[in-house]
Symmetry: C2
Subunit: 749 residues, 2 copies
């Protein structure tokens, strides 16, 4: 067939294809007959595409030499059978692409042989022997990984569809693909019929094989789910997430509609958004190619395309995703999942030249029409630097369930990530109004992330560790307020899922004073938290600093703990520290049992100061404290006999027996130190005073004074109305201040 | 004068200079009149030189704009007055060079003005107010830094010598330079008249100003010290080092003769060698230029030139020096001191093209004849890659006081640093037979280094912290044997200084099996330690592994502790671990008081295994243990209220009530993990068994068996005679083995 095709003159070829666009020859799913022609014509002329092709060819050729192995499933993630089947489906997909592009039959033979090995095995394959999952797969310990398999393998099948005889296809479809699709859907509705990244994979898997087989039943099942799943409302999975809620829409379209906010934020957070991007975008591309009438890329105001931009914005200067909720640190937009998403978003989303600079960093492209478009764009010098900016991302289907605010200064010199979102499904953490802070790609005040070593078999089979629940999800593991040593919503998923924080205001109109402010009233019933974070670049500071105002109002007397998890080596405190000769835990439950109380201090001055050195930079945390406050140095790692946790440090400011109170702090980055030059520059904080000038129900004002110049700066917040057109007048120290809107930033003479 | 010079035809110029080579016009010290001509002629044609010049010009011009400040001395290192005077002397030196090369009078004016400010201040300047040093300076808290000042400023003075009037010179010499030189020498013999890096700086300072002033008295004092110093034998400095020992030679030549071994190893270790390199080489260059009759570069078989090569070899793959003894981690051959040393060694040491590749990494050159030669070499494409190899470096004046053995595999894929040296003067640690291991530039088993934050004022004025003595110098802080919880030599400098370990053999003739072996009989009287370390690259291992055989023989029953300080996250142990609910210290003294006992385990199998993940690689330590051994997980940081120590981890194998025993361990690097791909490859050790086959007074044999192939490898050591021509025959398990020399490495069928 290929031989014929290549000698048909181009115009006939185009004609032929346009006449046949509904009959649809194969490949049609991701690669298209037309696209393949174009790719072949460009081979050797598009450096990044050619390089990727060479790399993929080398990988697949090496696998072909090693021979096919489809072992009887046995292991968890990280174990041999798991890794082998994972590598198999990746190799099959790549081999399919190589067969189409290079027209070398050996790739088709390899695919055919392996598919028939799977066919022979699958017929009688029982459910996977590992029992941990709420939805066990057959090839893998969970249906999720089986779905991964089918998403990739349906692409390979599409590429060799015409190479196989009708009889061969019938055999594969009858014994392998159709039962496979049924198993992960009809036989496992608790996995398939949800709004969850698991189901997205399941839906895409069923839909993609349906598109290749032209099976309308499967396609409808993919898009809209199973009608009568027989699932009880309120059932939960083994991560503790809800399987079914009342009136839940299901299927792929529901999975696009619900977890994405109109801004394109995915409620589970960027780590899982990255994971889900592959099935979202690859199935969307397939649907666009085979069933364009669904206009999938335009769905919900083009949210799938939009979400790729959002995902890039949810990364630090190195491209690593912010580890909101369950997120493994180090995962970045260089992940293959994001290569797919980005190329597709570029190709079908209007050729945004800024995406090309990210593609350059990724260093590879998809081997399809979209990857070719990206590689051509780069070759033709169209790449523009991606401008990450301060951005406010709403959460929730309709964008009304809180969100995530990101403040950035300069070229990511300083980045604040502030979470005032919804629960984030089963991967959510109990950390309302928490934040993390970055200087370029370095974490200054960190979010712990998850307690898991994904795919590392030694660590609990590569799955979630129990410390994810006992530590990582707990409130004390985050830079936010803990009341009476309990987590937000009592650490209860059912309760947390009902609520979300509320944005008070987000204002980045002045790049020198960027402010985000939000409130939380449900985490602790009877207690209201209002946290405002401002990234301020003042004249005599080398870098912007972070001002943190956390106002708490409660009906009852409580103990408040406010942690700051820093990294690096402590340089100095302005208070006396006592280091105990035996270490005890900081508490007994809700994550406190995992903290050693390493040292204890009491404030000596009105401002408590802690300085440290990290990655060649000095940092100082200044906090307005009272002489009743306790300063607790904690270290993670207690009650951790398996060494599942990192031994990171935190300072917890404890305020006992308080009803209403306000915590005001500043985090400053200053100076630098190099062990090569041994020069220590600006190693001291230049803030001489941080003071709460006024703190009423209606207004809170914080004064910042600097050492060298004595400059005084004041941020005043209107606490009760964030409308931008309201005029405020306030007397502080016998002086009248007036302004419009929720805040004023004033330089005092 | 410059105007005239530039119009003189070149041959006349050369003639003029050759006639005047003894009268010696200025500059003559580092820059020479001839050299300056050559530099000017090449300007614009030598990229690295031009780039350095532009950088230096930018630095100096910025300082000139800021204006001159010579504050009254007040602070420790890191404080303002300290940093200011340090920056001043560096800027003066640079301005001198710029004046000569660029012929712009503004630089001469700047130097002159600043010198006269110093002259006005110095006349009546009391000794520095900070009292901590055993030899307080005037501008700085210690004479050492005053000497730094004079070494740099004498270069500046030389550059403007002819610019100044005779009267001006007289005033400066009378009120500033001569009293300055006398103060750091005659007034402070306890600083000046020693063999120590401090004295090297002092000697160089006096010598360099003597050469500029043509003052023979000072030159002789520099080279040979002060004749009658009136110092008592046995006096000590504030680091605990000896000031005077019986029959001690002093002065610059003694400082070259004594601390350098014939191989070019500097007994204090690479961190201090780097520090001393500047005065050693810069004064040598000056002496070579002004008094060539001393043939300083040929002195002691060209040890100064040789030592530069050694210094490069004492670094990891990133160029960071091994932190033997007191060494601050992160210091590297990119330090300006090493730029100086390397350029001079290149120029006066036969233009070794391998040094040019290091110079490229340094990215700058000296602005003198030697730097020009380096920059020209690089421009002309002469650079060759520096080949760091396995190397054995003897310690001691005559090379007979032990040494340091470095085993390297491949392109620094794995590097072992084994210390069996002498005490290393006052900066020595009590760590006989200790080692550290690197994979490329990553520490796998670490040497702690020092407990100090050099020049960071907040940390004890940037000076040595008390934890340097209570922790960093103690034996338990190192990867070597501790007997009965006491340090080697009882942690006594006087005792340690009398002894050194002895090399048993060093054999790197087979790159696949490289071995270094040494003995220590004085650290614990009555106990002999014999440690053999082998870097072995076996067929079915992806990387070389380290085999560690430590044989201990004692007259008495003891408790032995063998620590391994690892980094990264623990993945797995093959033994049960109990994590206490309160933490206590591992002991009460000799460094033990700084260790928390984080968890305790007992061996479950004949081999104890601990795996961890660091920097994307998996590591496993396998140790042959008995069921009486205790496995202690320790963490540094107890009794450290000032947070002066890093919270690093170690595993301490404890063997109680033993006289003679042998510890055999293997450190393997295997596989990798990426948080982007989330693929975990070869995460398990492939060693199935590590067994001591025989262990007699005469022979020790360790067997290594591998999991996948069952291959058996055996290393047999002859313990009593390391002669390479001796034939050995030994029966193990009814089988005879025969070989020649101290060890055999055998593959068993």
């Amino acid at each position: 067939m290929f031989k014929n095709t290549v000698v048909i003159p181009f115009f006939i070829c185009v004609l032929f294809m346009s006449f046949n666009s509904h009959a649809q020859e194969h490949p049609k799913l991701i690669l298209t007959t037309e696209g393949v022609q174009k790719i072949r014509a460009e081979l050797g002329n598009v450096p990044l595409f050619d390089a990727t092709l060479a790399m993929v060819k080398a990988e697949v050729d090496a696998e072909i030499v090693l021979g096919i192995d489809t072992p009887i499933p046995k292991d968890f993630s990280g174990g041999y059978t798991h890794s082998r089947h994972k590598l198999n489906f990746q190799t099959l997909q790549k081999a399919g692409v190589l067969y189409q592009i290079l027209e070398d039959e050996k790739y088709a033979v390899y695919i055919k042989d392996m598919l028939f090995q799977y066919e022979a095995m699958y017929k009688d394959l029982p459910v996977h022997p590992q029992t941990r999952s709420y939805a066990r797969g057959k090839l893998f310990w969970q249906c999720l990984n089986d779905s991964n398999w089918l998403v990739y393998v349906s692409q390979a099948y599409d590429c060799v569809y015409d190479y196989l005889s009708k009889k061969e296809r019938k055999q594969l479809e009858k014994n392998l693909f159709r039962p496979f699709a049924d198993f992960i859907s009809i036989d496992n509705p608790q996995f398939y019929n949800r709004v969850h990244n698991h189901s997205t994979w399941g839906n895409a898997a069923v839909g993609m094989i349906g598109l290749v087989m032209d099976d309308d039943d499967l396609i409808q099942r993919a898009l809209y789910g199973i009608e009568d799943d027989g699932l009880p409302v309120g059932a939960k999975d083994n991560d503790g997430g809800f399987i079914k809620t009342e009136g839940q829409e299901v299927g792929f379209l529901a999975n696009v509609d619900e977890p994405f906010s109109p801004d394109g934020y995915y409620t589970e957070g960027p780590y899982y958004q990255r994971y889900a991007m592959y099935p979202f975008l690859i199935f969307a591309e397939a649907l666009h190619n085979v069933r364009p009438e669904y206009k999938i890329f335009a769905h919900k105001d083009s949210v799938l395309l939009k979400s790729v931009n959002v995902l890039v914005n949810l990364s630090d200067a190195d491209g690593d995703f912010f580890p909101l909720n369950d997120g493994q640190k180090g995962m970045s937009y260089k992940s293959p999942d994001v290569v797919t998403a980005l190329d597709i978003a570029y190709h079908y989303g209007g050729h945004n030249p800024q995406l090309l600079s990210i593609a350059k960093e990724q260093g590879r492209v998809l081997l399809d029409d979209s990857g070719l478009a990206v590689a051509i764009g780069i070759r033709d010098g169209k790449a523009e630097s991606f401008q990450k900016k301060s951005i406010n991302l709403s959460d929730g289907t309709n964008g009304d369930q809180g969100g995530v605010g990101i403040l950035r200064y300069g070229d990511e010199e300083m980045t604040l990530v502030y979470k005032y979102a919804a629960q984030g499904l089963s991967h959510g953490h109990y950390d309302k109004l928490s934040f993390s802070l970055y200087e370029k790609g370095t974490e200054i005040l960190q979010d712990y992330g998850l307690a898991r070593f994904v795919n590392i078999e030694q660590k609990g089979g590569g799955n979630y560790l129990k410390e994810n629940k006992t530590w990582a999800k707990q409130t004390i593991a985050h830079n936010t307020l803990v009341q009476n040593e309990t987590s937000h919503f009592g650490g209860k998923y059912e309760v947390g899922s009902k609520h979300h924080s509320e944005l008070y205001f987000f204002d980045t109109s002045n790049p020198e004073v960027q402010v985000v402010s939000a409130k939380e009233i449900n985490a602790y019933p009877g207690t209201e938290m209002h946290r405002t974070l401002a990234l301020i670049k003042a004249d005599n500071f080398e870098k912007p600093y972070l001002l943190d105002i956390l106002k708490v109002e409660s009906n009852t007397e409580n103990q408040y703990d406010l942690p700051f998890y820093f990294k690096g080596q402590i340089m100095k405190t302005n208070f006396d520290v006592t280091a105990p000769t035996t270490l005890t835990t900081f508490g007994s439950d809700n994550g406190y049992q995992h903290l050693w109380l390493e040292a204890i201090g009491a404030p000596k001055e009105e401002n408590t100061k802690l300085s440290w050195l990290e990655n060649g930079h000095f940092y100082t945390l200044s906090t307005a404290t009272t002489n009743k406050d306790e300063l607790n140095f904690v270290r993670i790692g207690a009650n951790d006999p398996d060494f599942n946790l990192r031994r990171d440090a935190g300072l917890v400011v404890r305020r006992k027996k308080s009803k209403n109170t306000t915590f005001v702090s500043i985090l400053e980055s200053h100076g630098h130190y190099s062990p090569v030059s041994e020069f220590s520059v600006n190693s001291n904080s230049i803030i001489s005073k941080l003071e709460i000038m006024i703190d009423t129900k209606a207004y809170t004002a914080a004064l910042i004074q600097t050492k060298s110049t004595g400059d005084k700066l004041m941020l005043i917040l209107a606490n009760e109305d964030s409308a931008s057109d309201i005029e405020h007048v306030l007397k502080i120290n016998e002086k009248d201040y007036s302004w419009k809107g929720p805040y004023a930033f004033i330089k005092i003479k």
